[in-house]
């Protein structure tokens, strides 16, 4: 390349008049086997893999809508939080007694810190010239251990989480304005149903909503008196007439939907 004072320019610009780089592909013969040009030969293969991947990915977005829970209510006292799945192993780690409590520093900082620093500095910790996994058992062993730990902790977090409750807790609830002048609503308040099932029958925390249920009046009465699931018996202790009004009220809300 011509440099310095003798360089020729096109007019007054800084564009050199000639000296184009020749387009000669580089020679890569150090590796065995057949090589091929990146474009278009190899890129086509990569794009085929990409296209197959994309089909699967798009199917996923169509089949499984991205989840959205109800709008955040930071005052909700019963919600059990869960991080995104790829943080679950760290979250689970904090459940163990030697990684929490007085040892919180160990679980929240020392263990993950050591693991991630080791990952970052792996080339300087594993310095030998050998590359095959079985020729460097320490590096391979630690990595296998770490991967196993991540899988185990994630699995533990998933299996100990109450997914049913989580689903109920996060559900987007349609708030139906109920008829509060209904005589049954007074019974609903008096018999403390309201504290668990909410002012609009929307359910509180993990307690279910009373809207959109498919039960007869007799069934509702039976549940009010004898309980169901985690709802204890004898919460209702009013008269037979009040029970009738209560059932009628709950049914009326469900019918008007």
């Amino acid at each position: 390349m011509h440099r310095g004072k003798g360089m020729k320019f096109v007019g007054d610009s800084r564009v050199p008049a000639s000296h184009r780089k020749p387009n000669i592909p580089k020679d890569y013969s150090e590796y065995p086997g057949k090589t091929e040009a990146f474009y278009p030969d190899f890129l086509l293969k990569e794009w085929i893999v990409g296209a197959v991947f994309l089909i699967g990915f798009l199917c996923l977005t169509i089949v499984e809508p991205a989840p959205l829970e109800r709008i955040a209510d930071p005052t909700d006292t019963t919600y059990i939080p869960l991080p995104d799945w790829y943080f679950m192993f760290l979250y689970q780690l904090l459940k163990y007694s030697y990684a929490s409590g007085d040892y919180n520093f160990l679980g929240a900082f020392v263990i993950p810190g050591l693991a991630f620093t080791a990952l970052l500095l792996a080339p300087f910790l594993d310095r030998g010239p050998k590359r095959r996994p079985k020729d460097r058992p320490i590096a391979t062993g630690f990595m296998l251990l770490a991967v196993a730990a991540i899988f185990y902790l994630t699995w533990e977090a998933i299996s100990t989480h109450d997914w049913e409750a989580a689903k109920r807790q996060g559900e987007i609830k349609e708030i139906v304005e109920v008829d509060k002048s209904h005589p049954g609503y007074e019974v609903y308040q008096q018999q403390t149903c309201i504290s668990c099932h909410g002012g609009n029958l929307e359910g509180v925390g993990t307690n279910p909503a009373l809207t959109g249920i498919d039960r007869t009046a007799d069934e509702i009465k039976d549940i009010a008196v004898n309980g169901i699931g985690s709802m204890p018996a004898n919460i209702f202790n009013g008269t037979e007439e009040e029970l009738e009004q209560l059932a009628e009220f709950i049914l009326s809300v469900n019918e008007s939907e």
């Binding site: 006292t77 904090l94 007694s97 929490s100 409590g101």
Partner: protein, 195 residues
């Protein structure tokens, strides 16, 4: 070897190559700043000025929440008569207006309130000292008469003391309280209990 008519410095050696020819003529005094060094230092100085003038206001801007004066705690009426309190911790809700940036929002908090043996009122914050979930009184069948945190199974005794060998590291915070006209007033912010 003679280099004629070249005027440049060998920067590493700080050696002047003069037009009169010859290399390594005179080692200059190390203290003396060459023209080139002077230009580089000035360039760095101006660059540093520009960079800091741009970033410092931004950094102060970003760090503002940290440097805000700490807000005091107000006492809020819970509309609960003190006579209604018993030995059993009771969930007491109270609402107040809270400033959240450019919003002022009605916020509801709650406390676990009971009277201890001496008739003293204790108002625990429900916020678990482990990772900030809410504890419930007596909600775990295996651990009756304790505060239980569902997130990592943290436990506290009735007096708020954390049960050893469970995740929490400190006793539950306590709200300040006051009794006015027989009603219980609680502070908006709970205080740490020195364990």
């Amino acid at each position: 070897m003679i280099i004629a008519s070249i005027d440049y410095f060998d920067y590493d050696e700080n050696v002047l190559l003069t037009k009169t020819g010859g290399i390594g003529l005179e080692k200059q005094d190390k203290q003396q700043v060459t023209r080139r060094q002077f230009l580089v230092y000035t360039l760095m100085g101006v660059g540093g000025f520009m960079l800091s003038s741009i970033t410092l206001p931004n950094l102060r801007f970003a760090a503002d929440p940290v440097l805000q004066p700490k807000e005091g705690s107000d006492l809020i009426n819970t509309n609960l008569k003190v006579d209604e309190l018993t030995n059993e911790p009771k969930k007491v809700e109270f609402s107040f207006k809270q400033k959240d940036g450019w919003y002022e929002k009605e916020t509801t908090q709650f406390a676990w309130v009971y009277k201890d043996e001496n008739g003293e009122i204790i108002a625990h914050s429900p916020v678990c000292k482990h990772l900030g979930c809410n504890v419930e009184w007596n909600s775990s069948e295996n651990h009756p008469n304790m505060y239980f945190c569902p997130c990592h199974k943290g436990l506290y005794y009735k007096d708020g003391e954390n049960v050893p060998n469970t995740p929490p590291r400190a006793p539950l915070d306590r709200y300040d309280y006051e009794i006015r006209d027989g009603y219980l007033y609680l502070s908006t912010r709970a205080k740490e209990v020195k364990g």
